[in-house]
Symmetry: C2
Subunit: 112 residues, 2 copies
DNA sequence: TGGACATTTAACCTTTCGGTTGACGATTAT
DNA sequence: ATAATCGTCAACCGAAAGGTTAAATGTCCA
């Protein structure tokens, strides 16, 4: 994988991995519990978790014989920033917000 | 490819394809011109464009013997929406903005 | 009509991906 | 001590990704 975005987008391109991330939105989970709803081997899930971990999308901490998986949503920031270059979101909204703010603050209270 | 997000994320996972999208941000381009800066065959670029097209990220219109490629950034919306489920952007920024706005508007001019 | 240009297709190759199974190391429980 | 549990590793497999080159298709120009 060349750069950070490569591994991020690639990690997010698999539906199983996206499902895992969604599950982790709820709460931290042990590897076995992550694997439970899927119809594939634990080894396969373990590999998916490794990919998510290398992309920075989750962190894993071993406590006893259980390895806990934790969502790290900040890793998605780089994706977000890249997408912003295509004007899909904030730019528009923030611009609108800023204009609103300017208007609100520059006008007298009864000016609107 | 199972669903829409699969093909979108997969399309975005390749650095050549992301570069192409960035180039198209500037202006519409013919296939040959898209290929020019890359050190790979035209056939390879043609395949990349097919992948981008199938993901909906670009559209292609043939005029004469030239096929024009046009960026379709709206296709990124689904990605955006999915990412928003992880609270990476607007929510945070807008909340911050709203708090700021509340503060600004509710305080007397010398209140800060 | 023939040739140059623009792009895709076909066939092929190598590497990566996503899955399997089976063995293994580490930890906990009996 | 022994057995069960948690998770990874290694070896393997078929399919897909990303590239190549060479031929084919369409379109414009002279």
């Amino acid at each position: 994988m060349e750069n950070r975005l490569d591994s991020l987008f690639a990690a997010l391109a698999d539906p199983t991995r996206r499902s895992i991330l969604t599950m982790l939105l709820e709460d931290d989970m042990a590897v076995t519990d992550v694997a439970e709803p899927f119809q594939m081997s634990l080894a396969a899930i373990s590999k998916h978790l490794t990919i998510l971990s290398r992309a920075g999308l989750i962190s894993q901490e071993k406590r006893g014989r259980v390895k806990w998986c934790k969502l790290e949503p900040d890793a998605m920031r780089d994706v977000t920033i890249w997408l912003q270059g295509f004007g899909q979101f904030e730019p528009v909204h923030l611009d609108a917000f800023e204009r609103f703010l300017q208007t609100e603050l520059s006008l007298p209270p009864d000016g609107g």
